[in-house]
Each structure stands twice: as C-alpha cells, then as structure tokens.
Symmetry: C2
Subunit: 406 residues, 2 copies
C-alpha cells in the first residue's frame, strides 16, 4: 500500500504524508481491492486532491457485447477516466466483469444488486443472502469499490410514498430495492445486513460508495424530502463504515438546478462528516437529452468547484440508449473538462500549470505544443491536418488577420 | 416598434409595459435596425428576460463560401440562436452580409472593422473615415447591432504595454486597432469619432455592442489590469450612448476561471450601470480545444445565472479552424443548454415549465413527449429509431429493469 500511496502522491503533486493524513481523517479514499496488486493507475479521491472522473460501462438486458465493452473500457481509460464502473445487468455479468478487471488499468466499481437480479426470475424473489453472496463474489473477483443502496430504508420510502414526486425513483438499484421492500414488506436487506457487508468490505478492502437510490430525477424534485431523508441515513451509515475502518464515499444527484448545487455539496459534507462526494452530473436541466454530457459537465464543474470530489460522467446517450464507444469518449472528455475547470478554480497548482503551458503554446502559435497540452490531443492534430492554412502558423478562422500572428 | 415589443413580450411571457420600462431604464436592448421591418424573431436582451444566444458565422480570408455560410445561418436559427453575427473578413463581405440579412429570421450583428480592412492593402493604412464609412454602409444594409471597439484607448494600451500578458491580445478587432494605434501614433479612431458613430447608430437604430478588445485570452490573464481598464472606458462610453438614446450592451470575456466569473458580471453591471452583458463563453479552462463548446457552456451557464444576459456561442472548432455547419449546430445547442440552465436557476417560469413537461413525459416513458420537449428533438427521434428496444416503452440502457417502467 505504501508504494501505491507514493505513486498517487507523485501523480497529484502532494506529499505521501498529506495523503495518509487525509485517509486517516476519512476525507480521502483509495479504492483498491486487496487482490488487485498490479493496478497501473491507482487513484485517491477526496479533499485536497484533483477532481476525479468515473466512466460507466457494461451491457444491458437488451445489448450485451463483451468485445464492445472492452472497447469502451479502453476508450474511457485512454481519455483519462480515473475509474470505471461495470454496470452490466445481463446474465453474462461475470464474464464481462472478469474481462474488465483483467484489462483495466484503473480501479473498477460495480453495483452488486445488478448482478444479484440474475439469480432469480424476478427481483422481488431475491433473499438477503443473494445480495451478500454477490458482494462477496465480486469482492473475490477484485472489485475495488461498490455502490451499495443501504440508505433506501423503510423510513425513507415512507417519506417518499407520503410526499410523492414528479420524476419518481430513477435509480435502477433504488427502484429495485423499493419494489422488493414493498412486495416483501421487509426492511432493505442491504440496510439490515450492513454489518455483514462491512465484514466483506473489510476482508477484501472494498471501498463502499453509498448509493443515492432516492436521488432526484428531475429539477422539480431536487432537494426534496426523500432525497435528504436518505442522505441522513447515509450519514449514519458513514459513521458505521468508519467505525469498522471501511473506506466510504457518498453518491449524490442527479438532476439539480445550478442554484441548488452548492447546497447539495455543503449538506453532504456536513451530514457525512467530510466523506468524499461522488456526484452523477449533476444535470442542471432536464431537457438536454442527446447532449447530456454537456448538461452534466455544466453541473459537474460547479459541484466540483464547490467541493464535490468525484464526477460520474454522463454520455450523449444518457436518457436515450446504452452508450456506444463514441459516447464513452465524448462523455469522458466532457467530464474531464468539467473536473479540470473545477481544479483550476480551486487553484490546484498542476491544473493552473496545465492551462499556462497551453496558453503559452497558443500565444506563440506553436501547434505541436497546443496538440501536446490539449485535453484531447488527437482532435487538435486531426483538425490541423483537415484544415490546411494559407499562412503557416495561423488557422482558417482568421487567416492572415490572426490576432496572435506578430 | 410597438407590435415588435408585443411579439417579444408574448414570447418572453412578460408584459409589454415591463419591457418598455426596462428599455427606458437602459437595462434591456432590442437590436433592430429601422430598415428591418419584417424580422420574424425579434429579440430583447437584458434584465428580467430569458438568456439569449448568439451564433457567429461568416467566412475568413482562407475560406469563403457563401452557400456554406447560409447553411450555417439556417442551422443556427433552426436550433434556436437568438441572433447571428456575420464575422466575414474577406473581400466578399458585402455579398455574404447581404445574403445573411436577406435570409435571417433573427437580428444580425457585425464587427465593422473586419469589413474596413478590405479597403486597403494593410490595416495600418486605414483612416478614420474608412471605419465610419463601413459603419454607415452596414447600417444602410440593415445590420441590427455592431461590435465597436471604442474602449481600446491609448490609456488602455499603455497599461497593456506596461503590464504585459501571457496570452497577448486575442480579439481580432482589438489587435487590429492596437497595431493601427502603435503604427500611426494616434488615438483609436473609434474612440475619437465616437460621437459620429452615435449619430449613425441613431439614424439607423443600430444597437452598439461595445467590444472588449483587451479581453483575457487565457486563464492566467483573467481580471487583469488591461481588461478592467478597458471596462472603465466602456462604462464612460455607455453613458454617452444613453445620453444620445442609442441602445448599448457590453461585451465580456473570454477565458475566465469559474471563481472569477461572478466578479466579472458584477463589475460589468456596476461600471456600466446595468447595461446588458454579452459574454464570449466564458471558457473556464484553456485546454479544451476541440470541445470548447462544452468549456464555454460551463462558463456561460454560470455567467448567465449570475446575471449575464447574452451568451456568444463557441463551437468545437474554436481555436482550431473556421466552423463547419456541424460545428455551428453543436455550438448553438451547447450554448442554448447553458442559457436554459441559467434560466432555470434564475427561476424563470417558462424555463421551469419546460423542464417540468419534459420530466413528466420521461416519468411516463412517453417518447413522443420527450422528443417534443427536448432541446434537440431530432436527436431524440434519431436515437429512438437507431436503437430498437425489446420492451416497448423502455430504452436499451436498462431494458426490462428500467426504473421508470411500472
């Protein structure tokens, strides 16, 4: 672990002792299963570090194609995703996950309830041990972090049932547990058996990412009672993770208007005592389908500037279909840009330096420098080749009247 | 004018009297040349109204293709640009501008110095009357608003020369005037002859958009002395516009980190006494080349939420090449999303309603409703056709496990 921390510290430009101190304070997590010794790009997530980006991959019941999922993995890692989550929800989840773990240079996360579903014909027939078995199995396989929806308690769904909502429950895991609890008239097994989950997490050094099953799925529902009721549950579960020395981060929404994003970050940090905050987007409007990598980048940049630590990407396919490789690429780059904008605004020295060297290259019309320092070097190179110029150092935008040509 | 204001008020969902009052207070402008009676989508820009989006089109010395520029115009207007600016800088500027004016359903803006350049072999040989002649000529042609870089005064460029800068001058108009002033050892003719410009603006009812020739072109230069020295000059020029009853808005940067965007908006509103603020992006990092429609959407959403009134789009081609039609489309949609996110955060009732109807359609898996209410209906439709589903109302993302299918 020491050499992993040194590697991370070097990449972040911080002292290893700083990293260790933050981990001790539970403000930083390092998702790294004990079985995954040779991970190429280990990562730390949390306070005082650069903002990280996760890319979701994985098949669905409608489309499963292991070759394509590995292409998505490669695209995500190539364009700078810090972690990937394999959200496969088909019968072949084990095969896909094995291949992803084998080929991933970065930490891999899962949502174990998706795999649990395959154990029965209908999700409502699952028993608590089905969930636990899958968590253990995926721990053995080497999964570094797992989304666990333990905060969807009866108390929380009672509030949801009473208050109602425009967008309903949009979390796949949250809705599955909601249905299960209503059908079986029982408490959430992931809540009831949380101590057992902690045992497994400790055994394999799995970081828990406490899911927000009641996250708002539209602007109208943002910051409503069910959302925050669940967040309070997550605050209590966070304390239990820490008591057992299990790394924990907290998942956040979802659909949130710009004026409520800072409040969301502040509440998470307060209620969960500084646990790293992992947000999905957030999407600052509901109408962006087809361009939700952009909508998510808008919300994500603001969230991360205000203290969110980890951005789950959205792709142009969000709300429409299972992402293609191209969608993964676009989603990663958009979210990396959002994370980087936040790093710049937070005054991260490496982020500022990255912008500075790019700007110096631009000032001197040094195109190979611009290519090298851009977030997406290949695109800069391709554009340069595709649009030949009349005057060597300028571009076709202004030609000889380039403001920088002097 | 009355019927135009009524049309705008209906589109905005405000009273005509509210609009008239805001115009009287100089907090709202309606760019509309007296010669352009039949404009299909007139627009008002400023306080209390929805955030507007401008799309730049036009050829360059390297590429001039009038057919393509008209395609860009159509794409921009189809996807919801509220105005277009024809930034053509080649010898055929008059031909392109005529065609754009003839075909544009929305207000058209220009930067007259670009056309003035063509009057001589070298920009430094221009005389003051060249600039004035072009402004008059474009006024006669029907241009609704013009970027005028009158704030690039000797005082401002002295500060620039003394302080220096990482990114230099990145405004094409600003740099041209800078070179002219250094070569001719004279004051900026657009400043010296500002009263004559006001006469022409009044004659044709041209709205002046006071350009920011010294805008920062990189994060490192954001909020530096030259930038704000020019803004103070623009504040004085704004007062002169108002004295002469000429509509005026103020252009803003450029490259600005997230933590300085609010300050930029606040300063503009203070120094220019509430004049509408028209920002380019802003870009919240320098490294996004190839994806700068996204970088600009991130900064633009925040700027507009904090009070900017008018967002100039950026396209994926920014910093790389003259935009193609596809780039225009992507730039407009990204910037419309940013503007809409700001409208939602500002609590604009129509924006909130748009999100609500979209969310209700999504909740009930009503795909034709989602298509209708999305920012980009065609893309939703295409995605739906391209990715057939096994279970009718779901999509390939979650298939039968769709959280909303119940």
């Amino acid at each position: 672990m020491r050499s992993v921390l040194e590697k991370i510290a070097r990449a972040e430009g911080v002292d290893t002792s700083f990293l260790e101190e933050k981990i001790r304070q539970n403000r930083v997590v390092v998702p790294l299963n004990g079985a995954r010794k040779n991970i190429e790009r280990p990562v730390a997530i949390g306070e005082g570090l650069t903002v990280k980006v996760n890319a979701n991959i994985g098949g669905s019941p409608d489309i499963t194609d292991i070759v394509k999922e590995l292409k998505k993995l490669r695209a995500a890692v190539e364009y700078g995703a810090d972690t990937v989550m394999d959200l496969s929800i088909g019968d072949n989840w084990k095969e896909v996950l094995s291949a992803v773990l084998e080929n991933s240079a970065v930490p891999v996360g899962t949502v174990p309830v998706y795999a649990a579903i395959c154990r029965t014909g209908s999700p409502e027939e699952l028993v608590a041990d089905d969930f636990l078995d899958v968590i253990r199995k995926q721990g053995e396989m080497g999964v570094d972090f797992m989304t666990i929806h333990s905060g969807v308690t009866r108390k929380v769904i009672d509030i949801y049932d009473k208050k109602g909502r425009t967008g309903g429950i949009v979390s796949r895991g949250g809705k599955l547990l909601y249905r299960w609890m209503k059908k079986n008239c029982k408490e959430n097994p992931l809540y009831e058996r949380f101590d057992d989950i902690l045992d497994i997490a400790r055994e394999f050094n799995i970081t828990l990412s406490l899911g927000d099953g009641l996250r708002p799925g539209c602007i109208e529902d943002a910051s409503d009672d069910p959302q925050f009721a669940e967040l309070y549950e997550l605050g209590e579960l966070t304390a239990r993770c820490r008591d057992r020395k299990v790394g924990v981060m907290i998942e956040g929404p979802g659909h949130v208007p710009l004026d409520k994003i800072e409040e969301n970050v502040r509440k998470e940090k307060e209620i969960c005592k500084g646990a790293p905050f992992y947000v999905l987007g957030p999407l600052a409007t509901d109408v962006g389908a087809g361009h939700d990598h952009i909508t998510g980048a808008i919300g994500g940049a603001l969230a991360a500037w205000k203290g969110a630590d980890f951005l789950c990407y959205l792709t142009p396919a969000e709300h429409l279909h299972l992402p293609e490789v191209e969608d993964v690429y676009r989603g990663v780059v958009a979210t990396k840009i959002a994370a980087h904008c936040a790093d710049v605004a937070r005054g991260n020295p490496r982020a500022l330096e990255a912008d500075l060297v790019m700007s110096k290259a631009r000032r001197s019309l040094d195109w190979s420098g611009m290519e090298k320092h851009a977030m997406d070097p290949k695109l800069v190179k391709d554009a340069r080749e595709k649009y030949p110029v009349k005057k060597e150092k300028t571009c076709t935008m202004c030609g000889e009247y380039c403001a920088l040509a002097d």
